[in-house]
Symmetry: C2
Subunit: 197 residues, 2 copies
């Protein structure tokens, strides 16, 4: 809120070296654990494997969502980064469809955190600029482009799209049906196109 140099509040010390090290180790261990997980991961197990106390884990990541998000955010670039490329190569509606497909594929690889991501997203607990905002911004870019080209509706908010995608990802995460995912994405596209060309 207040103006700041971007570092830390005036008078705050730089973070200690061991703190940075521990935080890093935790993210590494968590990334591996989430990737390998078939089920929900034990945070105490992550702390143990990282060689720190459970208290340290919770200081760095006050909630499970915070840890999941830290891992998730690091890999999100590949999804948000391709928007410009897609828009350059494809008309807006096709770009939107392609982007949703990529996002779906990305989410599908995140089974270990799916439950947490879902709960966190829906409840707004995952709401930092680094994740939710980036997704919303990516969608907004494509929507704006499509609205200008009159191939996508102009009265749709980015959050409307994420709401629909959320349901699709959750529903299709349970049953292993890639073709249902595709079908649903096509369905959503039909809803998002300009009704009267």
């Amino acid at each position: 809120m207040s103006s700041d140099t971007g570092k830390k509040a005036r008078g705050a010390r730089a973070p200690r070296a061991d703190a940075l090290r521990n935080r890093d180790t935790l993210i590494q261990v968590a990334r591996a654990a989430f990737a390998a997980a078939t089920d929900t991961v034990s945070l105490e197990g992550i702390a143990r494997e990282a060689g720190v106390g459970i208290g340290t884990l919770y200081r760095h990541f006050p909630t499970r969502e915070a840890l999941v998000e830290a891992v998730y955010a690091a890999e999100l670039d590949e999804v948000t980064g391709c928007v410009a490329t897609l828009l350059a190569e494809l008309p807006p509606d096709a770009a939107l469809r392609a982007w949703m497909g990529r996002y779906a594929a990305f989410v599908a690889t995140k089974r270990g955190m799916a439950e947490t991501l879902r709960a966190g997203w829906a409840s707004g607990r995952i709401a930092t600029p680094s994740t939710r905002e980036r997704i919303t911004a990516a969608i907004a870019t494509i929507l704006a482009s499509g609205a200008q080209a009159r191939s996508l509706r102009g009265d749709v908010a980015p959050d409307d799209v994420t709401a629909l995608l959320l349901g699709i990802f959750l529903s299709t995460a349970a049953a292993e049906t890639p073709e249902q995912t595709e079908r649903l994405l096509d369905l959503v596209m039909d809803a998002l196109r300009e009704p009267i060309p």
Copy 2:
């Protein structure tokens, strides 16, 4: 499935009186607890309040979902029961829209169990004939009617609709935005209508 008097499988004893009584008490207490809940409800608290051991609760309802579903199912009739009426009074597409609105309103009152319902539905854990099937059947009825009248697409599965509704309900449950719910439902309707009349 098999022919039966409707009681129980051959050779099985009738359930004991105390078991029925406890089961009933648990549902009553749980209904009140879920309705009053702002947060997730403690199952041990429900057992305590019902005057039974935690073991008894878990025997009757092996998972949290089972208990939530038992409460939920009892109140679901008002949603599934109005399909015939809606179809009689309205054209299929309008009936579908109206029905989705009712369902949304119903879900909105279920905040206390929202988290559990969501998780259970997405993971397929809530999958008994008494809930998921009933919703699916309700949607299927309307879709079939609309497909015959050529006002709704014929290539949409009921589960596709539930997937979209799931996302809408979850997203709008976080932020109190009834108008976003309505907008999203309209959006979904556009997707479900027959594209070329």
